[in-house]
Subunit: 428 residues, 2 copies
Amino acid sequence: MRFARRSSSAELRGAVTTSRELFNVRTPPQALDVLLQHVPARADGEEVPTRDALDRVLAEDVSSPADLPTFRRSTMDGFAVRAADTFGATEGLPAYLEVVDEVLMGHAPNRALGTGECARIATGGMLPDGADAVVIVEQTQEVGQATIEALRAVAPGENVVQVGEDVRTGDPILPRGHVLRPQDLGGLVALGVTAVRVARRLRVGIVSGGDELVAPEQAPAPGQIRDINSYTLAAMIRRDGHVPCLAGVFPDDYDALERAARAALEANDVVILSAGSSVSARDMTAQVVDGLGKPGVLVHGVSLKPGKPTILAVCSDKPVFGLPGNPVSCMVTYDLFVSPTLARLTGAVRPPRRTVSARLSRNIASATGREDYVQVRLEGRADGGLDAVPVFGKSNLIFTLIRADGMLKVPLDAGGLAAGAQVEVVLF
Amino acid sequence: MRFARRSSSAELRGAVTTSRELFNVRTPPQALDVLLQHVPARADGEEVPTRDALDRVLAEDVSSPADLPTFRRSTMDGFAVRAADTFGATEGLPAYLEVVDEVLMGHAPNRALGTGECARIATGGMLPDGADAVVIVEQTQEVGQATIEALRAVAPGENVVQVGEDVRTGDPILPRGHVLRPQDLGGLVALGVTAVRVARRLRVGIVSGGDELVAPEQAPAPGQIRDINSYTLAAMIRRDGHVPCLAGVFPDDYDALERAARAALEANDVVILSAGSSVSARDMTAQVVDGLGKPGVLVHGVSLKPGKPTILAVCSDKPVFGLPGNPVSCMVTYDLFVSPTLARLTGAVRPPRRTVSARLSRNIASATGREDYVQVRLEGRADGGLDAVPVFGKSNLIFTLIRADGMLKVPLDAGGLAAGAQVEVVLF
């Protein structure tokens, strides 16, 4: 142990910390904005059967090719009538109507109704010409073979769905960018729209860099760890409706990483490089990305924790991301930057993330000018509310994410959040 | 038009309305409870590669087969040191340390550290024996070839992740029933757990009944409509992680429906009959279901709107559902009864549905003793809040669901909800 007095080392230390990361550090919204300015909504479309289109993104506006219903339908079991024939009818003074037909389900009525006539009809049955309302069976009484009493008056249109009442020919029904839900598929098939044009699923290449990484099947030697990010990224890409393409694990070697990145860029619509965790490995990632094509790196460094050393780039018209090697940082930055970029490319209008309101259980410190994302566990309280309990872990280990139910954001301009504050937790 | 005075028709009308549906009408929670008492958590499992296990349901508890990390790792770029060697160090009086090694990423250190020695190390590097802390590079100064000054003291453990600090051998990490998220896959592969035992996906047979139904590809003749429910049900089953098996469309003919239902029961784990919309078609569905196996129909009729004529059954140990033919009723009752039953069969602990708080825009009437589900559209207000605007449509047409963003529940014991009430909307 040797000690020596020094006058000042500030100047020299300054030189050490001047890494590329300190240039152009942007807030997360600024960073995303810079990237998206270079990412066009491309909307390559493909036609798929409607029945297979769940969660796909419509590539064009859809309008109705037909009226729905296409015929006047009864909404109840009963008798199709001319409403005027029932006017004034009461239990005490019912209207007598002649049953001249029975409308069979799936068939047109056999004849039109004249004055004083009615036809037996079930829910969903087609109204005969001449009829304009339905008296429900509970408000009738059969008398004799072919006569009923209507015990109540019905107004014209009562218990009837009109042609086009659900949707009319030419009505816009679903907009481009809409993510198709079960009921949307139902509405489309109801109209006979058995195929739809949707945004092509994007291929997203994943290149994991790091001398320390081995594949999950391998037993790591001392100093080695298994690749995590390829698998969490692949799962998040799947959740977004796209196709992950794992390139594998590459050492922190410029040529090897550059070859792998270039091959991934060639084969995919988007590329994610999960960088090695040291500063030098991250700087190498930035150089590799910048060499892949114009305009190259747009953002290097974001005022975000975790996730500061994020690289956002566009190379030869394709988005390329250099995400931090730390597994938590990698997931946070995927959510903030990759996910919205994939939505932009497909034109998808995605619903907001699932959130829940909870009360923060303890103080959280943060630096102003930086967005912090803190993993929290949710715990039910006796009063029925929820507490958000921060799950702190040194260095953002993967299991802190597994023990958490969601994340909360400490905004850019907040110096932290106080215990007892009501916060919105974005659920995993 | 013929009128005639009648003393009373109440008795006769009573006879008409006495359908099976009026017996044993239960509240939705009671109905589900009766069904689930007959549905065991079966937990047929299968082994799948962890990388393909996103959104699958764990069929067994998983505990950690290893410590993570398996070696002491640096969390920063800097120098691995013996902390005691730095005690008292300041900028003015730094500690001199001899650089005796450089720890390469992915490799064990070449040697242990003795007193006054240190080793260059990057983030994620393996700590040498003898070292117990890391001085970050910004707090050091290189002097000469193989000597640094440590400008600040570090405590033992500082900037180091210990063996097992993320998770320890034998720790329970994920419980049976857990639905696997991206980070869970990451944690599992980090531990070398490359395959997991998950609940088998269930095959759910769908039989659509109704003389009026045709397949979507067909042009409906007058009186006919296209089958919707097979496709909305299939999509909801997919969203729940299971496999829909469409049997097709069958007429309201007892023998035809019975054959189709029996074949579906044979081939699947669960069967849904989407019934014809008339009372007689629904009664036929109940008879068909009751004949499929013991114990048969458990619930016929639920105090629910829409969805009253729901049939819940267990036949030969398999859940069988008779859902109303109306497309909105069909979706509501799938959510309330089928979805929780599929979760029970797989043991899945599903996260609650996505909800949002909104202010009701107008009064909604309801009957007490009945749960009402009302489709609503969400509209942003100037004050940043949301209004829930009921989307009313006669007879629950499919496009009322498409125009809606979610549903709100009018509870059993409420006579309705007043305009201005703050409500929770379950989002689609």
